[in-house]
Structure formats: structure tokens, C-alpha cells
């Protein structure tokens, strides 16, 4: 169905503020189908969305100036999304009402989950869905927005700082490691890494701080630094249970803003391929072995770190083999809501692990990135709710 564009207002001055033409505005009644609220001084309409890089963008809407959304110019808002039509829909701000018209798109235009066709309102706070893109209609005080943007910048800085600390992939040697990290818009407290303890032992770990925001990110960085710089006093870093017990002593939630964290920490002996590991409050790491359908979970059950002083921590051991792939990931990888509205649990995600190396989605540089793309495609549109951290380590 093709819908004509929203016609320009036949008399835009009807909505002009009194200082422009007060008398005419007062004596002419608005058309019956559009209810126009009195403009609020300093309040502005925006469309808020996430761009290809994951950054939050805010497009200011101006009265009686149409904005077209499509996959290519001359649309003013262009999304290179295969589910968006060349010219998909058109928006127009009339007074304080935002109207949308579908322009005959293949996949439809939706407002708060309901398909719309012509000149339909997008309420304040309403969500417009175009292909995979989610755009939120914001109507807010411009000064408040400036403060909010400052917070967004702080979050972006925190996110960049965390990313700058992440290790380089290991592309040669007995253990090849690649990862994919995608911080959520709110920035969580994921931190992961790997390094050699000595010529025979390699450490891998992933921690996830409770909550989101700069505080969680910075707490994650503090934990990260303690592990990568091996700065926990009196600890044998080859002993996972000692490391976790010491972290629990060093990072009590009482003196760290009420934050705790979960962690998986493993030490691989490159001579024997034995791995000793301990998890605290975290789901297992999983091992996929060539020729075996079942994944091997590597987990111990320990209290989250920081919740209670003096807790004991247990560790376990497993025998790995050449060709094994070890998957270490945060809960943001699987705690998604799908397009169908299903809240995933880890069991929904596990079948995606251990796939043949030649089964990667086109364009994915690694299996970790492949998994991100698959999960991203299955999740409902919009940014993921939590950080996505996936580490894949393969024994050569």
C-alpha cells in the first residue's frame, strides 16, 4: 500500500507562538482531527536511535519540516538495513504532535508494536520500528538534555577506557584466543583477559560487575587491573580458589558502592592441557570438543565476590585436548529478549556453540563476532540490555 506524504500544513501560522502573530493564532480554530498542545518553552522533539557503531544518535525534529526514513537518500535519516525500504516512512511534527506515514514499505512501519499506515501519531516516549531500527520519540527540556548528554559522554568514555585495556587476540602459539566485546548503551561492568603466568601456564578470566553505568565500569576496571597486574598481595595466581578468596577480601561490596561481581578464572597448563578453574556466581565456561555433540561445562559453585567476608572458594580441574574450544562469556550474551518476546536462558544459547569453523555468518572476522551477530539477529531490535563479552580460546 502506498500512502501519499503528509501534506504540508495549509496554514502553518496557526501554530505560531503569539509573539509571531498572536492575533491570528487566537482567532482561528485548529482543524478538528489534530489536537495541538500549547508549546512548552525550551522543550524540543527528538528521534533517538542507535547507529551502526552502537552510538546513540538524537535527531532534532522541527515543526512542519518532513523527515523521511529510508535505506538511501534522499531520505533524511538513512539506515543501511536490508529490512528498511528505499523510502520507508515519513514523519512530520505538527505543533507538538508527531505524525508518521508509511510510504509503501515492504516490511511496514510500527508504533509501539502496532502497524501504522497514514498520518498516525507517535506519542511522547513512543517507539517507532522501521525494519530492525528502533527510534524513540523524545519530548524534553533542552537543558535537561544537555545534562543527560554529558552522562552519555561519561559512559562512552568509560566504555572506551575498558576497551583500551582488553588484550590483543592470540593468533599463534598453543592457544589461539579471539573475543568480541560490545558494551551496552548503559555500559555494564564486564572485564576479561588472558596472559601468561610463566612459560607453561596461561590464565583466562572474565568478571561481570553487578549493575550498569560508570560506577560498574570503573569497578570492573579495578578488578581487571588487580588480575592483569597480579597485584593481589600474598596470592598464588596459579591457584584459582586463592585468587577468588583474595578478591573477595579486597573488594567487599560494603566499601565498593554496594557492588559485587561474578567471575570465572582458569589456569591452563600448556604441557599437560589440564585446566584448573573456579567460578563465583557465574554460569559455566563451556568446552566444545571436535566430534562430540555435548559441551563440557566448567563450573564450581561459589558465592558472588564481595557479598560476605571470609567466604571459602572451591576450585576444580578438567582435562582438555588439542582442538578443544573453550567459550567464556558474560550473561549479556544470552540474557536477551527475542523478537518473539521470549526471554532467553543459557540453554537457549548453548546450541550456538561448537559450530564448524566454516559455518560463520558472512563478514564475521571470528567465531566470537559470529556469535554476536547471530544473537544480535535473534534479539529484539534496539541495543542489547547488557554488555556482550565473548572469549573463544582454541587449543592448536
Amino acid at each position: 500500500m502506498s500512502t501519499p506524504p503528509i501534506p504540508p500544513d495549509d496554514d502553518a501560522t496557526r501554530f505560531a507562538p503569539p509573539e509571531d502573530d498572536g492575533e491570528r493564532t487566537m482567532i482561528r480554530a485548529p482543524r478538528s482531527r489534530i489536537t495541538v498542545a500549547a508549546p512548552r518553552a525550551g522543550w524540543v522533539h527528538y528521534l533517538v536511535f542507535t547507529d551502526d557503531t552502537g552510538a546513540v544518535q538524537r535527531h532534532r525534529l522541527r515543526p512542519d519540516t518532513p523527515v523521511r526514513i529510508g535505506r538511501r537518500p534522499p531520505a533524511e535519516l538513512v539506515f543501511r538495513d536490508g529490512e528498511v525500504s528505499g523510502l520507508h516512512c515519513e514523519l512530520l511534527l505538527r505543533g507538538d504532535e508527531l505524525l508518521v506515514s508509511d510510504r509503501g514499505s515492504t516490511n511496514g512501519t510500527f508504533v509501539d508494536g502496532r502497524r501504522v499506515y497514514a498520518h498516525e501519531p507517535v506519542p511522547h516516549g513512543g517507539v517507532l520500528q522501521v525494519g530492525k531500527q528502533i527510534l524513540k520519540h523524545e519530548f524534553r527540556d533542552e537543558h535537561e538534555l544537555v545534562q543527560s548528554q554529558e552522562l552519555d559522554r561519561d559512559l562512552a568514555r568509560a566504555s572506551h577506557y575498558v576497551q583500551s585495556l582488553l588484550p590483543q587476540p592470540l593468533t599463534s602459539g598453543p592457544l589461539r584466543v579471539q573475543w568480541h566485546y560490545q558494551p551496552s548503551a548503559r555500559v555494564g561492568g564486564d572485564a576479561f583477559g588472558y596472559h601468561a603466568l610463566d612459560e607453561h601456564h596461561l590464565v583466562l578470566y572474565l568478571a561481570d560487575v553487578s549493575g550498569h553505568g560508570v560506577g560498574a565500569a570503573m569497578h570492573g576496571v579495578a578488578v581487571f587491573n588487580a588480575l592483569r597486574q597480579q597485584s593481589l598481595p600474598g596470592v598464588d595466581f596459579a591457584s584459582p580458589s586463592q585468587v577468588l578468596a583474595k578478591l573477595n577480601d579486597q573488594f567487599p561490596m560494603d566499601s565498593h558502592g554496594g557492588m559485587f561481581f561474578t567471575i570465572w578464572y582458569g589456569v591452563l597448563d600448556l604441557r599437560t592441557l589440564e585446566i584448573e578453574f573456579a567460578a563465583a556466581g557465574q554460569h559455566p565456561a563451556y568446552v566444545a570438543r571436535p566430534g562430540q555433540a555435548a559441551l563440557m561445562p566448567l563450573v564450581t559453585r561459589n558465592l558472588v565476590i564481595g557479598a560476605m567476608p571470609g567466604m571459602p572458594y572451591t576450585q576444580a580441574r578438567a582435562q582438555l585436548a588439542r582442538g578443544d574450544r573453550l567459550y567464556l562469556f558474560s550473561d549479556g550474551v544470552f540474557e536477551i529478549v527475542t523478537r518473539e518476546g521470549l526471554t532467553w536462558q543459557i540453554d537457549h544459547f548453548l546450541p550456538l556453540l561448537g559450530q564448524p569453523a566454516d559455518a560463520l555468518v558472512p563478514g564475521a572476522a571470528s567465531e566470537a563476532e559470529h556469535l554476536y551477530r547471530v544473537v544480535r539477529g535473534l534479539a529484539r531490535p534496539g541495543p542489547l540490555d547488557d554488555d556482550f563479552s565473548m572469549v573463544v580460546a582454541q587449543l592448536a
Binding site: 549493575g211 556466581g281 540474557e335 526471554t343
Partner: protein
């Protein structure tokens, strides 16, 4: 996220939570929840039977409240969690510091001791 408060046989306060105990849910309920548990000098039981999802912020709320209870010599127990929430409680090993019980009867009995 919603909650209701009642009294168990024996006098302990029972707080029933309903909905997703995630960041948004905790924001909605935290002040009322802490007031219900800590605003009275009694033991407390938390009914998780209608909690559909427990995220880390929900775990944090439970831990901080349980610790505040313990600091003043009072107990807090959890009960009634459905499979998914029970699985999360198991994973974070919360039962190592807070009793996690299957139903109201066992929660009541535990607090009566």
C-alpha cells in the same frame, strides 16, 4: 514490579514480590521493599513465587537487605522461587548466606526456630 506485605504465622513479615527483579524492577520496588523488611523489628520471609526473572541488581537487593537484617540480629529467608529464579539463586550460591526454602510452610518453620 510490584509487591505485597503480609504477616506469617509466628509474626514474621512476609514480602511477596511480583514481576522482573531487574534494574528497572529494583528501582520501582527497592525503597518499599527495604522499608517493609527493615522498617519493623521482625524476622522476614521473601516470597519469590511470582518473580519471573532475577538479575544481578535483584541479587544485590536481596544480599544488602539480608545483611542489614543480620546486622541487627534478625533473619531473612527466601522461598517459593520458580525454576528459572531458583537456577539463578543456585548459580550465585546465595544459599550459602541466606536460607532458600521451597515453600511458605518451610519458611515459617525455619523462622520459628
Amino acid at each position: 514490579m510490584d509487591m505485597s506485605v503480609e504477616e506469617l504465622a509466628g509474626g514474621a513479615v512476609c514480602v511477596a514480590l511480583q514481576g522482573r527483579l531487574d534494574t528497572v524492577g529494583v528501582d520501582q520496588v527497592e525503597a518499599r521493599f527495604k522499608d517493609a523488611v527493615l522498617g519493623t523489628d521482625r524476622d522476614a520471609a521473601v516470597d519469590l513465587g511470582a518473580v519471573s526473572f532475577l538479575a544481578s541488581m535483584g541479587v544485590r537487593l536481596i544480599i544488602t537487605t539480608a545483611r542489614a537484617q543480620k546486622a541487627r540480629g534478625r533473619n531473612l529467608v527466601l522461598f517459593g522461587a520458580k525454576a528459572q529464579v531458583q537456577s539463578t539463586l543456585q548459580m550465585v550460591a546465595l544459599d550459602q548466606i541466606i536460607p532458600v526454602l521451597p515453600d511458605r510452610e518451610q519458611a515459617t518453620a525455619r523462622l520459628a526456630h
